[in-house]
Symmetry: C2
Amino acid sequence: MATQNKAADATPETLHRIFTVPEAPDSTLSQIEQAISQNLNRFLQNHITATERSLADIERDFSDPAIPEDPTFVSDHTQFLLDKLVAQSVHTASPRFIGHMTSALPYFLMPLSKIMIGLNQNTVKIETSKAFTPLERQVLGMLHNLIYQQDDAFYQSWMHSANHSLGAFCSGGTVANITALWVARNNVLKPDGEFPGINKAGLFGAMRHYGYRDLAILVSERGHYSLGKAADVLGIGRDQLISVPADSQNRICIDALEETIATLNRDNIKPIAIVGVAGTTETGSIDPLNALADIAEREGIHFHVDAAWGGATLMSNNQRHKLAGIERADSVTIDAHKQLYVPMGAGMVLFKDPSLVASIEHHAEYILRKGAKDLGSHTLEGSRSGMAMLVFACMNIISRRGYELLIDQSIDKAATFADMITTDPDFELISEPELCLLTYRFVPAKVQTALAVASEEQIELMHDLLNDLTKFIQKRQRESGKTFVSRTRLTPEQWQRRTTTVFRVVLANPLTTADILQEVLAEQGEIAKESEFAYPRLMTLADSILKA
Amino acid sequence: MATQNKAADATPETLHRIFTVPEAPDSTLSQIEQAISQNLNRFLQNHITATERSLADIERDFSDPAIPEDPTFVSDHTQFLLDKLVAQSVHTASPRFIGHMTSALPYFLMPLSKIMIGLNQNTVKIETSKAFTPLERQVLGMLHNLIYQQDDAFYQSWMHSANHSLGAFCSGGTVANITALWVARNNVLKPDGEFPGINKAGLFGAMRHYGYRDLAILVSERGHYSLGKAADVLGIGRDQLISVPADSQNRICIDALEETIATLNRDNIKPIAIVGVAGTTETGSIDPLNALADIAEREGIHFHVDAAWGGATLMSNNQRHKLAGIERADSVTIDAHKQLYVPMGAGMVLFKDPSLVASIEHHAEYILRKGAKDLGSHTLEGSRSGMAMLVFACMNIISRRGYELLIDQSIDKAATFADMITTDPDFELISEPELCLLTYRFVPAKVQTALAVASEEQIELMHDLLNDLTKFIQKRQRESGKTFVSRTRLTPEQWQRRTTTVFRVVLANPLTTADILQEVLAEQGEIAKESEFAYPRLMTLADSILKA
């Protein structure tokens, strides 16, 4: 039995111990810590159970709403967490987990995270963060520089200015997007003569003052769902988030956007922002940012770019051109916990003009006093941790050239995988990778041949069966726990915009190899045959079509 | 020279290392990690420099907006962080740091945090969090239970229900408050006949449909500044956050609230929420929650309680009565990173009625599908970390009785400190502690005597000088780095609501002793005499008044 620490037997002394005495080196918790430090991947492989228990089953372990009356030994609780929680968590760092945007982390981030948590700074105000405040401002400056490439004088003027902000550090891309659109909304409905501005008067008063019939946000149909949330929270309304059709490459149709704007103008509906997407969540596509910037400039509309995923691409001089025009955006969202390989919880929004945040500035008596440099004056969130330190460390230790390598490798890998899919007679590539995301589906060779000669009605039927089959494969593959891809529904032009269920793959883990990608396809081909309904039906249908 | 890891010399191999090879045991980073594990407090004391460098000086270390072209060795960068960042951070865990709400952490949280970061789950969706989803739901259930104490059948029905939510885990109290008021706003302006609801139609359309002249949020003048942000973000407007006067105990005046509501009703202005405060940020005061609940029920207004600070008080059966009525709130904010001793970044909002969140529900094609149990369907934030694990561990390891001890000790300590201040002839208690917060100021005995007989004009003058002196002492004390209290401005009734600068003290660190509190007062008395302006002027003035 390992040495154990117990919180309290209802005595102050035992309670005092948990704040002052570390876990013994031979305790369960210390041993785990060691195991993680020595080989995280082995730890995860040893402790995460390969096969999935049903969610209902897991829920039974986490169903007691009572707060325990009496303390548990640290080691006992750690053992519980290992058996019940860690065992049933997701190995997001696995090179075989290629379905979502969470991937492996550099090793040095784990000990650094411990320093961050040990320091427990609160970056909302200088009095609880001191050097973390200038550090966070520098990190925002680095990201601003990555996007906007202003000269040194610019950064010397604004980086540490109390009444300005190059951006805001957030818990994630959603808060970053909301912050950008909050700023945009408040600048459209700004103070005007006697009118004190929307921030004081509210949206209803602002609309009466400005006389618009309504507001709108414009984004392609591939825009992230957080924009709908932003439209709701900000009082603009989900119906006023205008979804502009995307083209066959999943990029916003400029013609359709122009038409939409003309209609809005005619109807006296004021767009508060055009949102360009640099790396759509589902397909990794990049909108034509320069064309969007032209329109936004001409119309005097705030231009926001959601580069939560794709922003890190700017690190690569070989890929940077794909985001041309991003430097003309009024605001940009970028997530460090995606392709900057920082742990969950590090989003950012950057503002081209550092005085833009004046429209959301706020103060309090005990902190954030006027003229003070507290970060909290220009953020949606209040108390926040020192996460910026981890981004800072990555910038320095990995460096631009290191990130360039990572980004280039990921994009190359996606191209390789796209080739594998195209070459394999039993798979169909649905969206070509522009970054390191792509979508595809399993369509047996015979079905592909049949589809080419089938009637509309037959295509419809096979399409439905393929959707069922894709869903079946994705779920079964996840449950078997060897490899993981995600799935989504698209409306590809090559299938006359039929709703099409597809596998979605994100190839950002630097440890994912071509062999693993072959494994993924092989496993999917195997699983397909286990389908008792869709697969045999598809084959029979294909046979009958080809016989006819 | 310690063994070093370098990210990339522009080769994939060196880059691969940082994802696969841990830091060597004798590296700088590993040594720090060891030092933190063995004795966090000693590590912080050794590395945080006692005396303060000026912010302008620190900023020079964090002013380069360039992302380094080439990688830095991990150990070199770690050394930089130690010298420039850690050395100039704030020792928030110090028992002498009693000015803000950030305090010491139990030891076991550091290794557990490492597990959390190593697992790098994303709780927005089950596919990247699996068991972390039921775990987070259980944590929300525990907090819900702490507040609302529903029966087992209630929790068995709703805790794991896909279309319901007992609350939302957030990055902090600000997002929790915004979420609560978002829900409240959307329920006031809900779908009605042909009208699709504010979430779809927006606030402007909703107001035209419902015909209100305006909306309002009601809270005492001691309410947290995040409510102003919420009013701004949600489109209600800061002017419509109605600040109701507080009484001499810093609690909302019920009469004034009643008058305000009568006026709003007469003017057809619809209050979306009454916010009660359970532990004001500045004074730790608790509004009369039952009286507020009565009014909210009678008027049919959403009743939200901001218990970000005070909610943990419910853990103590000895103190629970102070929050009587909180169980009648429609929603409650509580921060685990305050008095539940969890690291920064753990806020929560709880909803009495688990179907209330339907008004903010949202979906996406690739995740958060209808009927799925993904947590992201009912949160303002998107991607989030597995912080709930740390709250869960604290609940189990510390337990209710452990928290009870911590809470009781803090409140006792505040009473002790209040006694010290009252007994000391050179100090004046401004707000009595209801929880473990209090405010006071340094007023030399002679000045106190003079104030008792002074004219209005003389009082005014001395008051201004005392404000200067308090500010001087607080800043000098912070700079000298031995002890820390914060400061704020109040309008105490005993000083005819004159704006009064006060020291603000939060006594939540279990390691703070009575001796330390004596040190704080002694140091303040010493520093006062260093004031070249306010102190001598005050003494001269007092002399002349007492001679007259």
